[in-house]
Each structure stands twice: as structure tokens, then as C-alpha cells.
């Protein structure tokens, strides 16, 4: 017979926009299709916008798209008067039907595990879908268009009854078992409840969806199928509850927006009620949903207000504590600065007088008295050096250190300082050598006094930690990088990795410093690094380990 059936035979109405026609005779068809689809689309869109990188949000959005497509296709089947459209849309419905279960599996997996499933899971789903791709257009999917009555129906083939429905049941059971087993392994009660609710909500939706479809298929009464769609708003309500209560999906600021949107959808869907007789049932459902969502909304608003007040209190306390800390820090710096200044003058006087006593400016002293005067002078010098270190740190931290930048040769300065310090090393049996390996004149633009202090600190540091052996000062340059380097290599006690990482920290000293009775404040390298950085350079340290010596490299930008 002719494939184009005259709609006048059965008095079929012509559908407009594919889904609107008088052929739709069920009580809640538009309500049951549009309300669940719009509600899940709104929830999934809000979650995706809030956190697009979250895999669970993406999976839920895929569910929303597939479910909306399914609902739209089903509405077309209800409304259309064309047999070819009925056959086409019914034949592709099979993809969205199975797709909904597969997407639900990904949703639960990504929500509970935070990652995508391993690739073989994708492979299994691919193989499960393959028969649909190959057979969707054949009679195994749809046997024929049934024109024995005027119901505009296709007869579903074995692909539905013997393949899709069992596979869907299998996936739903897998979701339940896998989801609950992961949920029960969660470490906290809160996360266990959160995961269990998500699994339960998803499974309930799939169960209702399946039950509706299978009942419709067996009874050939497709009005039964629409009740299965109400599983989606229940799932949406459970997911909304999770968002509000547990901040699931890492969306903690959208609760009110989501709930208001859900209520708006409920009210909007009332416009699609076809008959006044149904208004009581639909209004009853809407009222129940409104009450549930309203309670959640009030709770979430109250919770957010309390949290905001607590945050404001904490912020105020933090601000006060911060101000107090700043005051204390300023006071500390001022105290150190004043105390150090006050100490410096008497120390200079003590050193001067001790030196004069030792040299006999006040008459010749006995030998023992000369030794005592020498001890006084040396101890005072060390103390003056410590005071100078504290003063420098105080100035650096307060940002009061002044730099007088000029051009000078680092080679000459380094050689001069090495010569000056060589006798100190010789007294304990350490030979100090000076070498150069430069292609330029070694000119730098820096503060001469500060540079001298850095070099002095580095050589002095090596002298302290080298009981015997050699210290080699090498000046080298790198014309390409426009840098000049001063290396201080020693054959001293060396450093382990832990010491290397903390050697430039304030008050930090070598791990053997205390056991080997080495005098120092632990500020020398800290001060040297800060001064070098302020002049555009830096200092690095390396050592092959304890007992294997150390090397400190001081670098500055090369001029010219």
C-alpha cells in the first residue's frame, strides 16, 4: 500500500513545530515531558557554568542533553501525523534510550571517583552500542508501522525487547552496585551519605524511566511511559539537596539561584496543562515540590547568612591582629636599631682603649696584662661585628639600606680583600689563593662598600668552616650573559643537602657550627644575599656533601 497515509482517514491533526497538535491525547503529556527536561537542563547548566572543569558537572550536562532529546523525540511521536516521521524518530529513540543509562554510569563514576573511567570501560560501551549503529534502520529495531488502528504507532522489534532493555537493566544494576561499593568506602560519614544519595537518586530515576517504558511497551499503552519521566525531577531534587546541604559538584554559591529556577520551572509548566481536570493533581505535585524546595531555600539562606557573619567577624579579628603585628614588627626593628646604635659607641671606645693599653700608650704593661688587653680587644671586635650584622639586617628589613652605585673593577677589589684576609687564614694553617679567568675588565656597577662587605663575609665564612687546607677566590666572567662571578671555593667541612637549602636563612648556621665552636650570628650569608639581590646580583651555594668542601658564587651584572 501507499506509504503516504491520508491523515483524513483517522482524522489526524497536522502537527505544528513537530510537537504541537491535537493528536496528543494523554493527560499530562506536555507537563511530563517539558517539566523534567527543563528542570534538569537548568540545574546542569548552572552547575556547568559554576565549575566547567568538574567532570561530574560535564557528565550531568550530557545526561540533561540526552534526556531533553529523548523527551523532544517522544513528544514528536505523540504529535506527528506522518508515518515516515514516526518511523524515523522512533528508530533513533533507541540511541537516546541507551545513551541515558551510559551517561548515568559516567555521571556516578566521575562524581564518586573524580576521574574518567579507564579506557576499556569506553570500549565496553562502544561494543554495546555497535549493534544499534548497525541495526537501527532495520526491522530488528522497528518491525513496521501499525495501521490496524489509528494510534500512529510503530511495532518495536527484538532489538528493544531482547537487547536494549536487558542491557539497560544491567547498566542500572552496575551503577547501583558500583556506586554503593564506592560510597561505603568513603572515609567520612558526610561523604558516605552524599555519595549514597547521589547513587540512590540516579538509580531511582533509571528505575522509573525503565518501568515506564517497559510497561508502555508490554501494555502497548504509551501513556504509562510518561509517568516514568517523573523520575528525573526526583533526581534533580535529590541533586539540588546535595548541592545545598553538602556543596556537591563544588558549587556552593548557586543554591538559591538553582532553587528559584526550579520553582519557576514548576510554575511555568502549569501553562502546558491541557485540561482543567488535571490542574488539581499538577498543582498538588507543584505544591509538594515548592514546599520541599522552599524549606531547602530557607535553610540555605540562613546558613549563608550565618557563615557570612562569621567570616566578617574573622576578617575584623584578622585585620586587628595584622595591625598589631605590624606595630610590633616596627617596634622590634626600632628597638634593635636603637640598641645596636647605643652599643656601637661604647664598643668602639673599649676597642680603642684596649689597643692603646696593649701598645703601651699608658706605660708599659706586664706580659699577662698585655695578653688580657689583647683578649679584650678581640672580644670587643667580635661583639662590634655582631652589632653591625644586627644593624644591617634591621636596615634591610626596614628598607632603609642606602646604596651608592658606582663603576669599579671587581677583580681589583676581590684581590685586595683576599690579600688583606690571607694572614687570618695563615694563622690557622689555611692558604688563601686568588685566581682570575676573565675576558673583560670585570667592571661592575654596584655599591663598593656593600660589595666589599659581601666578599668579606664569603671569605670569612669559608675561613670559619675550613680547619685546614686552601681557600681559592676566583673571579670569572660570562660575556654572553653579561655577568661577572666571584667564586669562593674551600676544602672545609662542606654541607649536606638540608643545610644547603637553609644556609641563606636568617640566624641559620652550618650544622656543625655549634659542635666545632665557631663564632657567628648566622646573619652573614643572609645579609650578603640581600645586599647582592639589591644590586641586581645573587649568591648561590653548592657542596658535594659533608667533608667535601663548599663553593659560594657571588654574581653581579657586568658593565660594558
Amino acid at each position: 500500500m501507499d506509504k503516504i497515509i491520508d491523515p483524513l482517514i483517522c482524522n489526524w491533526d497536522t502537527a505544528s513545530y513537530l510537537i504541537f497538535s491535537g493528536n496528543v491525547f494523554g493527560d499530562f503529556i506536555y507537563y511530563s515531558h517539558l517539566f523534567p527536561a527543563i528542570s534538569v537542563l537548568i540545574l546542569a547548566s548552572i552547575l556547568l557554568i559554576q565549575n566547567p572543569r568538574e567532570l561530574a558537572n560535564r557528565s550531568l550536562f550530557v545526561i540533561a542533553i540526552i534526556f531533553s532529546c529523548w523527551s523532544f523525540i517522544d513528544l514528536v511521536l505523540w504529535a506527528t501525523e506522518r508515518t515516515d516521521f514516526t518511523m524515523f524518530f522512533w528508530s533513533i529513540l533507541i540511541f537516546f534510550d541507551l545513551g541515558l543509562y551510559i551517561a548515568s554510569f559516567y555521571f556516578i563514576y566521575t562524581l564518586l571517583k573524580g576521574t574518567m573511567p579507564p579506557w576499556f570501560v569506553d570500549g565496553i560501551f562502544f561494543l554495546l552500542c555497535l549493534p544499534l549503529f548497525l541495526l537501527a534502520h532495520t526491522k530488528l529495531n522497528l518491525v513496521a508501522f501499525d495501521f490496524t488502528n489509528c494510534y500512529r504507532e510503530a511495532l518495536e522489534g527484538p532489538l528493544w525487547q531482547y537487547y536494549v532493555y536487558p542491557v539497560e537493566a544491567l547498566i542500572a544494576i552496575t551503577i547501583l552496585i558500583m556506586g554503593l561499593s564506592i560510597a561505603l568506602k568513603k572515609s567520612t560519614t558526610r561523604s558516605r551519605i552524599e555519595a549514597t544519595l547521589a547513587v540512590f537518586g540516579t538509580f531511582l530515576f533509571l528505575l522509573m524511566f525503565s518501568a515506564g517504558n517497559i510497561a508502555g511497551s508490554l501494555e502497548i499503552d504509551w501513556e504509562l511511559g510518561q509517568y516514568g519521566l517523573f523520575g528525573m525531577p526526583i533526581m534533580v531534587a535529590i541533586l539540588s539537596y546535595l548541592v545545598v546541604k553538602y556543596q556537591t559538584f563544588r558549587a556552593n554559591v548557586m543554591s538559591t539561584e538553582a532553587l528559584v529556577a526550579a520553582i519557576a520551572v514548576l510554575l511555568l509548566s502549569l501553562l502546558f496543562i491541557k485540561e482543567v481536570v488535571n490542574i488539581r493533581i499538577v498543582t498538588g505535585l507543584t505544591l509538594v515540590m515548592f514546599l520541599i524546595l522552599g524549606v531547602l531555600l530557607i535553610r540555605s539562606v540562613r546558613k549563608e547568612i550565618i557563615q557570612r557573619e562569621e567570616i566578617q567577624k574573622l576578617a575584623a579579628n584578622l585585620e586587628r591582629a595584622n595591625q598589631r603585628l605590624k606595630q610590633l614588627d616596627t617596634l622590634k626593628s626600632e628597638f634593635v636599631s636603637i640598641a645596636s646604635h647605643q652599643l656601637r659607641s661604647p664598643l668602639a671606645a673599649m676597642m680603642g682603649y684596649a689597643s692603646m693599653l696593649r701598645d703601651g700608650s699608658y706605660g708599659k704593661l706586664p706580659v699577662k696584662a698585655q695578653e688580657a688587653a689583647t683578649r679584650i680587644e678581640e672580644s670587643t671586635r667580635l661583639m662590634a661585628q655582631s652589632v653591625e650584622d644586627y644593624l644591617n639586617v634591621s636596615r634591610i628589613e626596614a628598607g632603609h639600606m642606602k646604596y651608592n652605585l658606582t663603576d669599579f673593577s671587581l677583580i681589583e677589589q676581590a684581590e685586595h680583600i683576599t690579600d688583606d684576609m690571607r694572614p687570618i687564614g695563615l694563622k690557622k694553617g689555611v692558604v688563601t689563593l686568588f685566581r682570575t679567568s676573565v675576558a673583560s675588565k670585570g667592571l661592575v656597577h654596584a655599591d663598593k662598600g656593600k660589595t666589599e662587605q659581601i666578599i668579606h663575609n664569603l671569605i670569612n665564612n669559608s675561613l670559619k668552616y675550613t680547619p685546614q687546607g686552601t681557600i681559592t677566590v676566583i673571579v670569572r666572567d660570562d660575556i654572553q650573559k653579561k655577568r661577572v662571578y666571584l667564586d669562593v671555593l674551600d676544602t672545609g667541612i662542606g654541607m649536606n643537602q638540608q643545610t644547603l637549602h637553609s644556609i641563606f636563612t636568617k640566624f641559620e648556621r652550618g650544622s656543625n657550627a655549634n659542635t666545632t665552636n665557631i663564632h657567628g650570628t648566622g646573619l652573614g650569608l643572609f645579609t650578603a644575599l640581600k645586599l647582592a639581590e639589591a644590586m641586581g646580583g645573587t649568591i648561590t651555594a653548592r657542596s658535594e656533601g659533608e667533608g667535601k668542601g663548599s663553593c659560594f658564587s657571588f654574581e653581579l651584572p657586568l658593565v660594558g
Binding site: 482517514i9 518511523m87 562502544f126 534502520h137 513496521a144 489509528c150
Partner: protein
């Protein structure tokens, strides 16, 4: 690997929908079963 499989799945889905459209809408290659005297309309039922 997983992403490639999922992409292939989407491509096959689109192709398969295209084939269904060709078979059902363009070629109209499906059977229609009815009564010898035509369908039972609601008036008759």
C-alpha cells in the same frame, strides 16, 4: 584512548541517525501493516 573511543561513538551515532533518516524519510523503506479494509478508526471502535 578513551577520548578517541568516545569521539568515534559520537561520529557513528551521527552517521547512524543519517542512515535512519535516509531509510525512513527519504526512501520510506518500512512496512505498514493494516486490516484488509483499512484501519479501525475511533468511530468504528
Amino acid at each position: 584512548m578513551g577520548a578517541t573511543i568516545r569521539l568515534t561513538l559520537v561520529v557513528l551515532l551521527i552517521l547512524s541517525i543519517g542512515v535512519s533518516y535516509y531509510v525512513m524519510v527519504i526512501k520510506k523503506d518500512y512496512d505498514i501493516i493494516t486490516n484488509p479494509d483499512g484501519p479501525i478508526t475511533s468511530d468504528e471502535a
